[in-house]
Symmetry: C2
């Protein structure tokens, strides 16, 4: 069966896509010549280029990137792994990553996972798409998976995660340092009854923020008085966790929340339900600096993740790994900054 015939038979499209062969025939040149017109840095005479482009126009030809990818063994697609999120932080992330990748001539294939287990099944499927690289946010890469990526030569950058494997690059915010800054801020302001509300217990970001906070307290001779766990990073569970916290006889006078959403939930519980004055009677500090943290009704003191820097660095590390496969494993840790607003007391 000829190519032509088959295409017509199997085609349900109004007019089948033209291929380079069709263009070549119409232009009266070889198919290779057409290919050269569409490949940068290849020499074609002005004459053939004109003839080819005329035929291209007439047929509405568009190069088939899939075929090109097959022969060049490179798709210009980056797999972007994200996890079911409620946090605006992650929306921003997808936004920024997709745009930054596009600026580099790459496209983002999004892999959205519900649970960590699912990554074991679905990541290999994304690898089958021959992605040129992988950015993993909010999920844990098992060493089995990391090894599989390494074997297939697919560079991986973990975003705000720990590496379970020595072969994966990491770009993250210094969450531990963020926790330390909060500890200093609270202690400097003279707070005594300090609390921490955790987000997702299994996440490394949560662990680091808490560790930094608690360690710094200890260094200065203090202790964490209360600890509650929201369970995830949502407003609703932050609200609920704060509720539990304030059922105590002598509740905290300062709360460090694992992220801004939790902080906003806690703040609303305190001021709307319990009539506690923030920051006069209670200081609250969050983490992330999401847009709503700056809204007048919250005006939340928080630890800002240098978002743009993190994204840019991630892309840069990834691009380097793609272009230079033998490069060393990078671990980039970007410091956070305290954003002073009005939900926490100043120095005494």
């Amino acid at each position: 069966m000829s190519a032509r015939k088959r295409r017509i038979l199997s085609s349900f499209k109004s007019s089948p896509d033209a291929s380079q062969i069709d263009v070549a025939r119409l232009a009266g040149v070889s198919q290779a010549a057409v290919s050269r017109v569409f490949t940068n840095g290849r020499s074609v005479s002005e004459d053939t280029r004109t003839k080819v482009m005329a035929a291209v126009e007439q047929l509405g030809y568009r190069p088939n990137v899939i075929a090109r990818s097959l022969v060049q063994n490179s798709t210009n697609i980056i797999g972007l792994v994200v996890k079911r999120f409620t946090n605006p932080f992650y929306a921003q992330m997808i936004q920024d990553f997709t745009r930054a990748l596009q600026e580099q001539g790459y496209w983002a294939l999004v892999l959205n996972i519900a649970e960590n287990q699912e990554l074991e099944d679905s990541l290999p499927m994304v690898l089958q798409y021959q992605v040129d690289g992988l950015i993993i946010t909010s999920a844990t890469l098992s060493s089995r998976l990391a090894e599989e990526c390494a074997r297939s030569g697919t560079p991986v950058v973990l975003f705000n995660r720990y590496a379970s494997d020595a072969s994966t690059h990491v770009v993250k915010c210094d969450n531990t340092e963020g926790g330390r800054i909060v500890a200093d801020t609270f202690l400097d302001a003279g707070h005594k009854r300090l609390a921490f509300i955790a987000g997702e217990e299994s996440s490394s970001t949560n662990r680091d923020r808490e560790t930094g906070f608690v360690d710094r307290l200890k260094e200065r001779g203090h202790n964490l008085a209360f600890r509650e766990s929201a369970g995830d990073y949502s407003y609703e569970l932050g609200y609920a966790a704060a509720q539990r916290l304030f059922q105590l006889d002598a509740p905290p006078d300062a709360i460090f929340c694992a992220n801004d959403l939790i902080a906003m939930g806690a703040m609303d519980l305190a001021r709307l339900k319990l009539n506690i004055k923030v920051p006069d009677e209670l200081s609250i500090i969050g983490f992330d600096d999401i847009p709503s943290a700056a809204w007048p009704s919250y005006d939340l003191t928080t630890i800002r993740q240098p978002f743009g820097k993190l994204v840019d660095a991630t892309i840069q590390v990834l691009m380097n790994a793609i272009n230079n496969p033998e490069c060393e494993v990078t671990e980039l840790i970007v410091p956070p900054t305290l954003i002073w607003r009005n939900s926490s007391r100043r120095k005494e």
Copy 2:
């Protein structure tokens, strides 16, 4: 140059990907047999399957989806077009679309555009990836582009957009009806000085919401007293627009905002800056029902877009169009619902 040789020369990978040929050789079967093992609904004997899988295991073979896509003329990739957003509504959207697509065995290639003009350049590039379909949110598809999609046989579903072309499917919320509901709600509560704060003027959603609102007011013998334009759908510009609105001598007693973020900005301006009591002195109604609208500190009355329904319907229409290319053009309009909360007065 042999395939083997070439692969080694051009390879910077530690161990090059094994192909079906490699597996076949090791298993002592034909390459087609290996293919059959990985193709559903093809008969392979238990014996060869075992031999093949053993070789697969040993070589770490993974099917190359790009090659499969080339021959099957189908990638199982859907292009998801989004636009720079600040609205949590859109974050939710990407979230839901990517998951829903994955459940159907498809992957989302995200095209993130800054301006509409960019779509003219970048959408063709996505089409070159031979995507099986296209979901377009928050962007306008020119008729030139619509035609190009039609010609390449790529089905398109517009999400919450108007069609500029008769060949594209549409799934949208009945924004006009939403506006009408708000009009009724305000008039029933006895409000007299009604205002509208617009979002992005060029968006059809904005236009429809306003039209429905104003038309219904007129039907009941009332007029829109004030109109302000935020300029986009953000909290900040909503806040600023409300500020302009309240510089008037006799300001409104009820404001319909084009979306929830604008409404929250307006509400904060009113209650925090001007000490206006909501809803006693001012009713505010938004649109979308984003998560934060339900937070105690806002408790915003709003028009809920039936989000899950919209997403599901979009996927369904798209899948139908993919599997049944000759299907009729669908236009699905889903009604919104009023969510009563505490930012607007009840009936008198």
